[in-house]
């Protein structure tokens, strides 16, 4: 299974974002079998992005907002920290190059 941005799984998630649905309803709109849809739903459920509940004889799936929010907040913090490091390094690099040029200019001026 191509888990790297699997397009069918993304489609299933997008469909659930519009509202809760059963496996059958989801499979009707997809070019894949019901078992394949169930497999994708299992991955999404394990990831905490989708929850399910029994409604009568059907199992209905829905986006789990808590899981989505938690994952989003996690990665937001992760990249804030990493990209702050990049910004600081870029600013240091720029200022050291400026002062480096000044040193070079002044030493050129003093030379010969």
């Amino acid at each position: 299974m191509d888990a790297l941005g699997d397009p069918t799984r993304r489609r299933i998630f997008d469909r659930l974002a519009e509202g809760p649905a059963s496996v059958g309803a989801l499979a009707d709109g997809m070019p894949v079998s019901r078992p394949a849809v169930s497999q994708h739903l299992r991955v999404l459920k394990d990831a905490g992005l989708v929850s399910d509940r029994q409604v009568g004889t059907r199992r209905v799936y829905a986006v789990d907002p808590a899981g989505v929010v938690a994952l989003r907040e996690y990665w937001d913090r992760f990249w804030s920290r990493a990209m702050d490091g990049f910004r600081v390094a870029a600013e240091e690099h720029a200022s050291s190059r400026e002062s480096g040029m000044q040193i070079k200019e002044s030493s050129d001026g003093e030379g010969s």
Binding site: M1, A3, L4, G5, D6, R9, R10, F13, D14, R15, A17, E18, V43, L44, D46, A47, G48, L49, V63, D64, A66, G67, V68, V69, A70, L71, R72, E73, Y74, W75, D76, R77, F78, W79, S80, R81, A82, M83, G85, F86, R87, V88, A89, A90, E91, H93, A94
Partner: protein, 151 residues
Amino acid sequence: MAKAVDSGLTVRKSMTVPLAPADAFRLFTERMATWWPLATHSVYETEATGVVVEPRIGGRIYETTDDGRTSEWGVVSAWSPGERFATSWHPGNEPALATQIDVTFSPTPDGGTRVDLVHTGWEARGTEAAKLASGYDTGWDFVLGRFVEAA
């Protein structure tokens, strides 16, 4: 509505840095170890000393230690020096659990660079959201699955 929730599965970070795009790109890729918070954001933590980005599509990104260990973080999927860099992203995890990073470098009128990072594809990532939502440690350990080994 779908669009709003879909954006919930994407993290974007944008910033402007005082370097030309070519220089910002080089700093980001060639000298990643000089700015990446390796002590906390790596597989080998304080033992991690380097990050190698192989400069081509299909090239690997991996951290290194002084005693020769390496751990792959991802595989380069777009490589346009000074413009764009994309990679799969699975530090501490198997490639099948990869998410995706896309970084673009755009010139600004004052000679700097706007850097836009987009991280997508989290629906591939195992049980992370469920555990985060239920209050587990939200540090890097979590992403690396180290808490599983420790348990």
